[in-house]
């Protein structure tokens, strides 16, 4: 079934003029953050999520650190709130930056608790983390991939082990008594998602059969990532259905083209407010050494490292729609855009819809979501070939008991 996961990065948009600071990530002083304004913003974002639940949409949250672009430093806290505030939406963390966490077992515990509170609605994304996060987390970028997969394997093992403690003495993590309480609601575990922008991680996700997500890659980039997963799956004798694939794009639906354009331009804030200093993007060890050599050569010749979004900062909404980064327009137009994209990348069940950015109000976002839920999603569900698999746990979800 085709699903749409509503998402806001929970920005704090009231930052000083860009020319007055070096980097919105890592070094921008928090004196620019007003806690009262911040409280109002958090309530705005959780209200949007609650409305998404009422509309039959699903929910995605994430976390970042030391940045005004996303002031949610803990996906588990957001999920903890939403596990109680929502009734039906599936709750996706995309994700837990486990290569930056010193204790994967704690992540397993947090996710299990959320899965239980929500009655098995958790989708657990495990993410390596962006290079800009390295300094903020003081996480050694060398061997990060190796650390990530060891943490992922430990977390999944912790979720699936119900017969008393097991021992884990790996290269990066050491626990001699792993025995998490509570265990997750879903069996054998909450679905695991891996977001990536690289084919190498797509291959590794395919080897484990996890759901693959890719973000703002456009049609060509998305297809390349999905194809890498499909090809590796085929090599292993598997045929992944479309339920294994997710794509994140910017989404705004308006009653008229004019309304949609106006909303879409507000959503562009996300692409246009992400000034990051070179040293936080070009991190040794995070990337392949050949790529880093190329980056060093470029920097020596006056070409600084570029944000992945640099090429699209100045693009128009129309250009972004054409490239497959934006789905914006009237309901008819958005149906057409998603359908076209869906066909061009080989199919996927999960549209991760960034619906809010910058100063966009809840009422503005809610109207867009209502149009999507009422006039777009039913047609996508009817028209698009998708997998027949339901999400694990949903069929078996039991009513929440009152009292002990």
């Amino acid at each position: 079934m085709f699903r749409t996961w509503v998402f806001t990065e929970m920005p704090y948009p009231f930052t000083p003029p860009e020319e007055t600071y070096e980097s919105v990530r890592v070094t921008l002083p928090s004196r620019y953050y007003d806690p009262d304004t911040g409280r109002d913003l958090f309530h705005r974002y959780y209200d949007i999520y609650r409305r998404a639940d009422e509309l039959g949409l699903d929910i995605m949250v994430n976390e970042h650190h030391s940045t005004a672009t996303c002031v949610a430093p803990s996906a588990p806290i957001s999920l903890g709130i939403l596990a109680r505030e929502t009734k039906n939406a599936r709750l996706l963390a995309l994700g837990n930056p486990i290569a930056n966490r010193s204790d994967p077992v704690r992540v397993a515990e947090e996710m299990a608790m959320i899965d239980v509170i929500s009655g098995g609605r958790l989708e657990a994304g495990l993410v390596r983390g962006v290079p800009m996060e390295i300094s903020a987390q003081n996480s050694n970028p060398v061997d990060m991939k190796e650390r990530f997969w060891e943490a992922a394997d430990l977390i999944v093992r912790a979720w699936q082990s119900h017969d008393g403690p097991f021992s884990w003495e790996g290269k990066h993590f050491h626990h001699r008594q792993v025995n998490i309480w509570p265990r997750p609601h879903q069996e054998p575990s909450p679905p695991v998602w891996i977001p990536t922008q690289t084919t190498s991680t797509a291959v590794e996700a395919a080897e484990r059969g996890y759901t693959l997500a890719t973000i703002l890659n456009g049609t060509k980039g998305c297809k390349k990532i999905f194809d890498a997963y499909r090809e590796r799956s085929a090599e292993l004798g598997n045929t992944p259905d479309s339920g294994k694939f997710a794509y994140l794009g910017l989404v705004f639906v308006g009653e008229t083209e004019r309304d949609a354009q106006a909303g879409a331009r507000r959503l562009q804030w996300y692409l246009q407010n992400n000034k990051v200093a070179d040293q936080f993007m070009s991190v040794p060890g995070y990337m392949d050494v050949q790529a880093r050599a190329s980056m060093l050569r470029g920097a020596a010749n006056g070409i600084p490292p570029q944000s992945p979004l640099a090429d699209i900062v100045d693009s128009s909404v129309e250009e972004l729609v054409e490239a497959g980064l934006f789905f914006a327009g009237t309901p008819d137009q958005v149906v057409e855009q998603v359908t076209r994209f869906h066909g061009e990348v080989g199919g996927f069940d999960h549209l991760l819809a960034m619906v809010q950015a910058g100063t966009m109000s809840a009422s503005m976002v809610n109207r867009s979501m209502e149009l999507f839920a009422e006039e777009v999603l039913p047609r996508l569900r009817h028209d698009l070939p998708t997998s027949s698999s339901s999400r694990p746990g949903t069929a078996a979800m039991a009513p929440i008991a009152a009292g002990p």
Binding site: V283, P284, G285, A293
Partner: protein, 269 residues
């Protein structure tokens, strides 16, 4: 086939119990071991040549810096210290002098505190690897949080002596990329120091020369040369070279070589 830089030195791949190391030998005279700093051997040619006027220089290309391949068995500066120890034991019948540059000085100190008998004399140039300041006082500029251009100015006393990276070829950029990754691997946290090293320096009993630059703005601990000299039991001298920064071997290769030569020729006090 191993890739080695195009230089006049003689390269030898040496199999040690701690792994493979590629050593470049050059110059004439009694042997001396050289352990490079953060950028590997990229900018060391004038210094090696100056040293080579009186010594046979054994430049150890540390594993992971692009000349000697990295190894899963090399996980920290203590492992790099073992490479130095193993090389010294395998190649020399008697104690041999050693020079360590910055991170190479850290490696050298790690080797020397456990192998006092290995080195006849020790020279530590702009050493890093210890922290003696409070927890909210940085000991070294944060390499990975500083604008790369600004960082270069902090490393050199005279901006005109900053190497122009545009002169590097593709292979050298690849070595530089390996070098920056290796520094991150070994120096990320604790940041460029081993919490145990400062108290272990009492075991460094070989006669030791500490050399610093008067314009070193990379090391933030005040009077760090004097501090090293106070911690190292064998430290007989601290020389501060005027007008140079952290990269004394690049900024004043001949002056540094002369200071070292004088120290090596001196009789133990």
């Amino acid at each position: 086939m191993k890739q080695v830089p195009d230089t006049t030195g003689c390269f030898e791949e040496v199999q040690l119990s701690s792994g493979i190391v590629i050593v470049e030998r050059s110059g004439h005279g009694p042997p001396i071991i050289l352990v490079h700093g953060e950028d590997g051997s990229l900018f060391l040619r004038p210094f090696i040549e100056a040293l080579g006027a009186h010594k046979e220089v054994h430049l150890i290309n540390l594993p992971g810096w692009g000349v000697t391949p990295g190894s899963n068995d090399i996980e920290g500066v203590d492992d790099l210290g073992l490479v130095l120890s193993d090389y010294t034991m395998s190649q020399f019948a008697s104690p041999t002098p050693v020079i360590g540059l910055s991170l190479g000085a850290w490696v050298t100190a790690q080797a020397a505190v456990f192998g006092q008998h290995l080195f006849s004399k020790v020279v530590l140039v702009s050493p890093i690897g210890i922290k003696t300041t409070a927890r909210e006082e940085r000991s070294y500029v944060d390499i990975w949080a500083t604008d790369p251009g600004e960082l270069r100015h902090l490393l050199y006393g005279d901006p005109s002596r900053i190497p122009d990276l545009r002169d590097l070829d593709d292979d050298e950029f690849l070595r530089l990329a390996h070098a920056t990754e290796a520094v991150a691997r070994h120096g990320w946290a604790p940041y460029l120091y081993d919490p145990k090293l400062a108290r272990r320096l009492v075991r460094l009993t070989s006669q030791t020369l500490i050399v610093t630059g008067t314009e070193d703005h990379f090391v933030l601990e005040p009077s760090f040369g004097e501090r090293w000299a106070a911690l190292v039991t064998g430290a007989s001298e601290h020389v501060a070279i005027q007008g140079v920064g952290h990269r004394a071997e690049e900024e004043a290769p001949h002056e540094l070589a002369a200071v070292i030569h004088k120290f090596l020729e001196s009789q133990p006090s």
